[in-house]
Amino acid sequence: MTLGLLLIVAFGGALLVYLPGKISSKLRDVWAVLVALAVLLGTATFYGKSVHDALSYQFLGLPLVLRTNDLSWFFAIAISGVGSFSIIFSLSYIKNRERTDFYYSLMLLINASMLGIVFAGDLLSFYVFWEIMSWATFLLISYNRGNALPAGMKYIVMSMTGSAAYLVAALSLYAKYSTLTFSAISTQITTASPGFTSFILILGFMVFGIKNALVPFHTWLPDAHSEAPSPFSAVLSGILIKMGTYGFILFLYVLVGFHQFSQLAWKAVSLQSVLCWLGAITIVIPTFIALMQDDAKRLLAWHSIGQIGYIILGIAYGTSLGVAGGAFHVLNHATFKALLFLCVGAVEYRTGGVRDLNSLGGLMRRMPITFIGALIGAFGIIGMPLTNGFVSKWLIYKTLILNQDPFLAFAALLGTWGTLLSFYKFLHNIFLGQLPEKYKDLKKAPTSMQIPILLYSGIIVLFGVLPGIPLKIIAGFVTSFGLTPLNVNLWGIVSETGTLNTINLSMAVVSAFFAAWVVFAFSRRSVPTTAQDTYAAGASIPRDKYQYSVEFYNPLYRMMGRYLRDVVDEFYGWLARVTQMTGEIVRRLYTGDARDYVLYIVLIVAASIGLKIWWPT
């Protein structure tokens, strides 16, 4: 199987969804799942391979190249995994909605285009796939209508701004080196002036920062993630925004090279430290904004931004541990964030679209599998030992501590506290506490939703216990960037300054759990009572009025709410309004009076002659 064939299958399968869809929806579902799994399998066959295919097809006289290596494969397998899980989840989620053909087609198209991005071997094919991904994403974000429309607009406008920056960067490189293939550029750019390299990299930061939702380019993400259909939110948050991370790695390590990047500085401020600090800011502020969200998906969305901060921090730090941690966190965030979105999706599906944290509660007994999924996902994102999130965060902390960067390390730690607090709220308000009356008869999530939830939970624990499986590939590409090679075994990373060994950790955690269990087993059993008993001493009160999960962190809101406004978003909103107003003013030029138009003609003739006279050159 060649890369070209894989992409043809992926794209062809996506576009042909409409054919079986015309016949029956069952056939269409089968088709969609088959295509997704075929792509997953096809991607898997490229494990460990390094391919560099120049296509015989040229675009505008430029050769197109597809290539794969450890880096590409690592992202590709995550893409096709998250993609196919979401497709399976969609089977029941999307069943009774309209335009299902459209939905599946776009899901597969986005999958295919992301694969194209990571398999692209030159800046042009990268861009083509990137743009296909962008517009397809726009269409799918808008799918839910209503509030989703402004969210989609925000996304696409920012995305187009990014694409513009990309095109300028790519074609500036082309103007200089007359080539767009990564391999050729990376060998030639070593001689470039620092100014030129900085120019390219800053444009790159803009492009990928926007897609990656790095502060201050993050404002599209909370809206888009929360308004998209949940399985797609999983793709969006799990892997689509990681295309930005891939882009960062591509520009920083593949094209420019870390050595050159770390040299770039303007006076005392180096580009690298700017990126690191952007990462740190991205961790802290969005995480605490997330804490204040009442919409489950919005909370998850803000956390996506926060977690992206860890990834960028690790990658920008540029030590092999840091890069490995960042890259591993890409995979981990893909699993637990996708899992969490799917769990919310399942809840949303059963409760009829409710995702307001103030009105849910006690669903643990009604939807046990979903609860377990959410629990493991929350453990993952907090970074509890035995989940994969722990390993990647450990690597990032370790990098920061080893390099004696207390402020950045503190920022990273602060983010974890915020995460802990908000996921306590998330779990409690949905699954624990009282079950509102109206959800008494709620059914379990359908099987097609449970399968991906369980699979994700399994992966999280598996990679938490055996982090060596993904770290081996990561170590492969980290070495290829010219960084210090990592010594990876199945249980973790061996290094001089302290070995990560998940066996010891497992033992510690298991014994801690055991101790806790013992305490609970021998203490008094809790007695569940109804809300009436607690609040009204048995008197009759309106039902569902006294749900104690309402405004969970109320004092905290009052304390921090004022400071945690999204100033950047307000700025962009102002920018949009200014554009609109400019339009309103500028179009008054067209007064509607024919004589004014004649005047314009006379004036432009006069102006041209005048310019010639006063400006003789």
């Binding site: 300028v168 074609l171 314009y600």
Partner: protein, 488 residues
């Protein structure tokens, strides 16, 4: 001599229209189709041979520089191919769309418009260019007012006033050039022009560019465009946006590059193009009337094309030409499609089209593809155009152009914003009222889908156009080559 047929056939059929109408009332609608099929075939047949060497067709027996002659070069024949392709699609569309008024007059005027356009791109004589240009303009004034409604007539009058002033300026420019060089042959003028440096020459340049600029809709000469394009019948909007303004751009480019070739002016016109782009897109952004929005978007696209051409490198001109082709195809699709959307919903306001995509899937799909192409998204032809433009602009590695490209992209983002808003309106908004829409007739969906196929096919494989763009760009830019081809 075959090239003459490109003009003779539509022109002859236009004047024979009353005769045919005498025989049968229904035949009128078929004549434009027949003429355009003929022109399309001729252009395609001619194109490979003129790629090798330009053919000069002498009319009236006097060889150049004396008599009037046609220059069938890659640019002229290529553009006439584009004219007949879009013209064919629009005439098939009009066959089912134009149901009211004096249809034979509509089709006669339509044929005149197309023969004017074809003649203008093929001729090698400056005054002849003016005459064909006038044929194009006058028939479009009349066609804009075809429905006789308030907006149509009003915009036609405004269009006419501006157009006539523009034509007047062209005529003065021609008079000056003739007074100086005693010839109307473009190649002959181009020879002499390098040896003369006089203020009058500059005046002639300004007048010619301004005059043709009115039809090309360069800012601030474009005030007629939003009115005329939004008020005309949709088939005419499509042909005006797709073809008529392109002829204006061709004429401006011919004057700028082939006749004069003054580098300083390029930058000036380039900045005007940039202003056109920005103003067009910003105005389009604040429109609620969909046809007016599309019209302003045409203004913006014209600005982009002019910008690209005035980079004045072969790459830049080629990129501008590709963008010209892409805009002709995409905007034709949009106007044709929106014609039926507006007809069915009964209003031109965007909000009346809420959720219409479900009712009219084919037309809306075509509109979305065309809109994506205009914004420059792959895999549609607009992407190839924008890519080439940026590449050409950045090829000089100058900071000036990098900044300009930044402004171009600013406009592109604004353009994207309103086109994506349109896509959302068509598909993702809930219809306010339930109307049972009639099906769109095949006479509309077939040409629209055919153009969509072109948009996608050229977007996936634009390389097929590259050799033509290259020689067409050389045709415009290479002054010495042009003179040699024409005068021997």
């Amino acid at each position: 001599m075959v090239a003459v047929l490109l003009i003779i056939v539509p022109l002859g059929l236009a004047f024979a229209m009353p005769l045919f109408n005498f025989v049968s009332k229904r035949i009128a609608a078929y004549l434009p189709i027949a003429a355009m099929v003929c022109n399309l075939i001729l252009s395609i047949l001619l194109l490979p041979s003129v790629m090798e060497n330009t053919r000069i067709v002498i009319l009236g027996g006097l060889p150049p520089p004396l008599g009037i002659h046609l220059v069938a070069g890659p640019l002229g024949v290529g553009l006439s191919g584009l004219i007949s392709l879009v013209g064919l699609a629009v005439s098939i569309y009009a066959w089912g769309y134009i149901k009211q008024g004096a249809q034979d007059k509509y089709h006669a005027l339509y044929l005149l418009l197309l023969s004017g356009a074809t003649g203008a791109v093929l001729t090698g004589d400056l005054f002849n260019l003016f005459v064909f240009y006038e044929i194009l303009c006058i028939s479009s004034y009349a066609l804009v007012a075809y429905l006789g409604d308030r907006n149509g007539v009003e915009s036609a009058v405004k269009y006419l006033i501006q157009g006539s002033v523009g034509s007047g300026l062209i005529l003065v420019g021609i008079a000056i050039l003739y007074g100086m060089f005693g010839t109307l042959n473009m190649a002959q003028i181009a020879i002499h022009i390098d040896n003369v440096d006089s203020p009058a020459l500059f005046l002639a340049l300004v007048l010619l560019v301004t005059g043709f600029g009115v039809e090309a809709a360069i800012f601030p000469l474009n005030a007629w465009l939003p009115d005329a394009h939004s008020s005309a019948p949709s088939s005419i909007s499509a042909i005006l946006s797709g073809i008529a303004i392109k002829v204006g751009i061709y004429a401006v480019a011919r004057v700028l590059f082939t006749i004069f070739g003054v580098a300083v002016v390029f930058q000036y016109v380039l900045l005007l193009g940039l202003a056109t782009l920005l103003i067009g897109e910003i105005c389009a952004f604040s429109q609620d009337n969909i046809k007016r929005m599309l019209a302003y978007s045409s203004v913006g696209q014209v600005g982009l094309i002019v910008f690209a051409m005035c980079i004045a490198t072969p790459d830049g001109v080629g990129a501008g030409l590709l963008q010209l082709v892409s805009h002709a195809l995409s905007k034709a699709v949009l106007f044709l499609g929106v014609g039926y959307l507006v007809a069915r919903s009964g209003s031109m306001s965007l909000s009346s089209l809420n959720g219409i995509g479900k009712r009219m899937p084919v037309v809306c799909f075509a509109c979305v593809v065309a809109a994506f192409s205009l914004v420059g998204l792959p895999p549609f032809v607009g992407f190839a155009g924008k890519f080439l433009i940026v590449r050409a602009a950045l090829a000089g590695k100058s900071i000036f152009f990098t900044v300009l490209i930044g402004i171009v992209f600013l406009a592109t983002v604004v353009e994207g914003a309103y086109f994506f808003r349109m896509v959302q309106t068509l598909y993702f908004k809930d219809a306010k009222r339930q109307i049972e829409y009639k099906k769109v007739p095949a006479s509309a969906s077939i040409p629209i889908m055919a153009l969509v196929v072109f948009i996608v096919a050229l977007g996936v494989y634009p390389d097929v156009l590259l050799p033509y763009l290259k020689s067409a760009a050389a045709d415009l830019l290479n002054k010495a080559g042009y003179i040699k081809e024409v005068l021997g």
